[in-house]
């Protein structure tokens, strides 16, 4: 082949391949911050209920703060983020109760969600956590094609800048969580060696990539900084079983207290503050709650939280 012909061909093919691959030239419009930040002055509503029947309980508590329709719009892509970090059965209190997750998924569908995705970046091996937490079997048991329990796909972490972060300036965050129309954060309430308690704010770590251990250096402020980017539409704290000691993994029933309580709010700080009270502790003791309240990410003062308890 002669040189001219060769160069001509190379130019032609690379240009056409380039154009083909980039068609239809998308414009980047998806915003990372899906939800509007909450104003620091307004009263935050927190729904609290207690019942042995977790399905009924979840429905009642969500109804207290306006029903699922207030959070899930018809056609919305919903993400439910439970805590299934550890390879423990539900009764150990280390993971969100499968019935809570399943009921939320059912309610999201009833509110018209076009799809529901459930995932968590686990600490132990993912398949063991998904299976043994009971969440994967519970979701598969729904047998609905719109609802899926997905394993984390390494490729889907995107580096997100955190402009308002005081310590943390950016981190890899799971794309599906950022792009969701409705993000439902469903932590399990449990003791944690450094954070004090692992609640809504701590549960956000389950959608982070990278070496998460490094965040423990200034954990409280890091969690608050993350909360400027990760803004759940709804936070549902599962305190049906509370792990009081040897958290966040537990492993012994002696450390678990059955409490049959669920809390829900769109304000992660307020719901964490109320959940802290269940442990007999003051919200001031939980560094992440304090740091987030300080940044105006939610309300921590109990007298400014509108606690709606089920009669």
């Amino acid at each position: 082949m002669e040189r001219r012909r060769f160069l001509h061909d190379v130019t032609y093919w690379s240009l056409s391949c380039f154009l083909l691959l980039h068609w239809p030239f998308p414009t980047l419009t998806t915003s990372a911050q899906a939800q509007t930040p909450q104003s620091g002055m307004a009263l935050s509503k927190v729904g609290i209920g207690k019942d042995k029947d977790y399905r009924k309980l979840v429905r009642q508590v969500i109804a207290l703060i306006g029903g699922m329709g207030a959070f899930v719009k018809p056609g919305a892509r919903v993400v439910i983020k439970p805590n299934m970090s550890f390879d423990r059965p539900p009764e150990m209190g280390a993971t969100t109760h499968p019935l809570v997750v399943r009921t939320l998924a059912e309610m999201a569908l009833e509110a018209g969600a076009s799809q529901v995705r459930i995932f968590d970046r686990t600490c132990n091996e993912a398949r063991r956590c998904y299976h043994n937490s009971g969440i994967l079997p519970a979701i598969q048991g729904m047998d609905n094609r719109k609802v899926r329990c997905d394993y984390i796909d390494r490729r889907k972490f995107v580096t997100v800048p955190i402009p308002e972060g005081r310590v943390l300036k950016g981190w890899d965050i799971y794309r599906d969580a950022l792009e969701a129309d409705c993000y439902i954060n469903v932590p399990v309430a449990k003791q944690h060696g450094l954070a004090g308690l692992s609640l809504s704010l701590k549960n956000n770590m389950g959608i982070l990539g990278g070496n998460r251990g490094q965040l423990h250096r200034k954990l409280d402020q890091n969690l608050a900084d993350l909360a400027t980017i990760i803004r759940p539409t709804l936070n549902v704290v599962d305190a049906t079983r509370m792990l009081l000691r040897n958290g966040p993994q537990g492993g012994s029933l002696r450390d678990v207290q059955t409490n049959d309580t669920i809390l829900a709010s769109s304000d992660p700080v307020a719901v964490d503050a109320c959940a802290t009270m269940l442990f007999g502790r003051s919200p001031d003791e939980i560094g992440a709650t304090v740091a987030a309240a300080d940044m105006g990410l939610g309300i921590m003062r109990l007298n400014r939280i509108n606690r709606i308890e089920r009669p």
Binding site: W23, P24, R155, G213, Q249
Partner: protein, 521 residues
């Protein structure tokens, strides 16, 4: 037109079938959503009489796990080496790569066919006297090792790279096509997590060498090296069913001599049943259809090619002497502390004797924690499994490695039992650990410690940090009595490079020398 399948077709079909079964079993060697693994994924090794014999000799016990091997040996006593030609996945793969390599006729030393008998003798006598070699020469061990440690991870890596490229840089319409394809592959052939292995290259090299030897002759490995083939050949000597040449009409044209893939037919058209693997090429290839597979009543001309008395004695004596040479190295008395064996491993001597270095435990290991050992256990310990916590940790509730071990070198433990088996002990490097060295809070090891009563605990102290300020931090410490050495702390330690908490094999329960509460042995 003959409507009956030809004998060669039947043989090829059988080879394909067994290869498929092998591949399915291989892919199946993974966590399947339950604690118990279903399907006998280690079946291949259980029917291997060489492994059965060698590991039984090494431990001087009858290992019930490998009893199915008797059936294979018995079948070869009747039919000859049918397994090599009809079932062995290694042989099938060698047959498949042969056409890719081209022909390079080479002159082979006439003594070479005796090599496999020498190897067999060294392996068996060595096993009895404490030098485990079977894993380095057994065809299944080489094959499964090469696949699980190198080829399968590399295959998965290539696929992952491709789909990562299309996902990150491809346009939306392309992803509409590639993503379903990727999900399909993930659900069928790809491993759940991309694995890496320390000895990927040596394992691949060993397997690759077997394939490259095909350049010199067809089935080079099976003819001259394979000790399993040698064992089956000894059985085939006595087999009443064999291929033979109907003498009178043979014109000695020599076609069969060239045709035979194992060199079992000599220039006169006589079949050596020790080499014959019943591929049946000669049945169809002979222009006069001289060859038949039938029951032989009278003893045919024996073309036995065993070792001479001198070679036999020499080999035996060497195999007896070698283990003692290996025994006088320091590592036999002072084991390498970083050598952490999987839970359920037998005491080292017995473990080395039974382990066939097949790599199944490493393939099934859910956390990619088990890796082939290099020289840490001596030259004879290469490819045996060891836990490298910094790469992967032992999952607290998982018992898969013990379930797939074909010879019981790793005992099958129920989860409750496994959680109490101590494989090592963690210790904190206070010069690196953040709360000690820098006064910076970090509790990651404590957080992940899986024992119900945590083996890593925190104590709150006031210390000076790097700026000279007094700070309150929680410092982790290890409770030796509770630590089982799973290595999750070392794995999750967020420090870059070396972990600040390190697990060594100290205090492992498989050895009787228990450490007392003060840490003295």
């Amino acid at each position: 037109m003959n409507i009956y399948p030809t004998p060669v077709f039947l043989r090829r079909f059988s080879q394909g079938l067994f290869l498929c079964i092998f591949i399915v079993l291989f892919l199946h060697t993974d966590y399947q959503g339950q604690d118990e693994i279903s399907g006998a994924v280690n079946l291949l090794f259980r029917v291997d009489p060489l492994i059965a014999l060698a590991s039984s000799l090494a431990t001087r016990t009858v290992i019930t796990l490998v009893l199915p091997a008797i059936f294979l040996l018995l079948s070869c006593l009747i039919l000859g080496r049918w397994f090599c030609g009809w079932a062995c996945p290694m042989g099938t793969l060698l047959d498949y790569v042969r056409p890719l390599l081209g022909k390079k006729p080479a002159t082979i030393p006439a003594e070479l066919p005796k090599l496999r008998y020498m190897l067999l003798l060294i392996i068996l006598v060595g096993a009895l006297f404490g030098l485990p070699l079977v894993g380095f020469f057994d065809p299944f061990a080489i094959l499964v090792r090469g696949l699980s440690m190198a080829l399968y991870p590399a295959f998965s890596m290539a696929i992952e790279k491709f789909f990562t490229l299309t996902y990150n840089h491809g346009p939306a319409w392309l992803n509409m096509l590639t993503e379903p394809a990727y999900q399909f592959l993930r659900a069928t052939v790809l491993p759940f997590e991309q694995k890496i292995f320390t000895l990927a290259l040596p394992a691949a090299l060993m397997l690759g060498t077997l394939f490259l030897l095909e350049i010199f002759q067809r089935r080079f490995f099976c003819r001259y090296v394979c000790p399993l083939g040698a064992l089956l050949a000894l059985a085939a000597r006595m087999a009443p069913w064999k291929i033979s040449n109907r003498q009178p009409a043979c014109t000695v044209c020599g076609k069969c001599n060239v045709l035979c893939r194992t060199g079992a037919i000599d220039k006169q058209g006589q079949v050596n049943s020790e080499r014959c693997i019943l591929c049946l090429d000669c049945l169809t290839g002979c222009p006069q259809h001289q060859f038949v597979f039938s029951r032989q009543h009278e003893r045919a001309v024996l073309l036995a090619e065993g070792l001479s008395r001198r070679a036999f004695m020499g080999t035996t004596v060497s195999a007896i002497a070698l283990p003692f040479l290996f025994a006088v190295r320091p590592l036999k008395r002072y084991p390498e502390p970083s050598l952490i064996r999987p839970p359920g491993a037998l005491p080292e001597e017995e473990f080395l004797g039974r382990c066939v270095r097949c790599g199944e435990c490493m393939q099934v290991c859910i956390g990619n924690a088990l890796h082939p050992t290099f020289m840490e256990a001596g030259a004879e310990g290469i490819f045996t499994p060891r836990l490298i916590p910094r790469i992967g940790y032992c999952e607290y509730q998982c018992t898969l490695c013990g379930q797939v071990c074909p010879t019981g070198a790793l005992k099958q433990l129920p989860p409750i039992k496994k959680q109490t088996v101590v494989i090592g002990l963690a210790s904190i490097d206070r010069n690196r650990c953040l709360p000690y060295a820098k006064g910076v809070p970090c509790i990651v090891c404590e957080e992940h410690c899986p024992t119900p009563e945590k083996a890593i605990r925190l104590r709150e102290v006031s210390i000076l940090n790097e700026m000279g300020q007094v700070v309150r931090v929680k410092q982790p410490y290890v409770v030796d009595k509770l630590c089982i050495g799973c290595g999750i702390c070392e794995n999750k330690c967020p420090l870059p490079g070396h972990s600040a908490i390190v697990v060594t094999s100290a205090g492992e329960t498989r050895h009787k020398r228990a450490t007392d509460s003060n840490g003295y042995t």
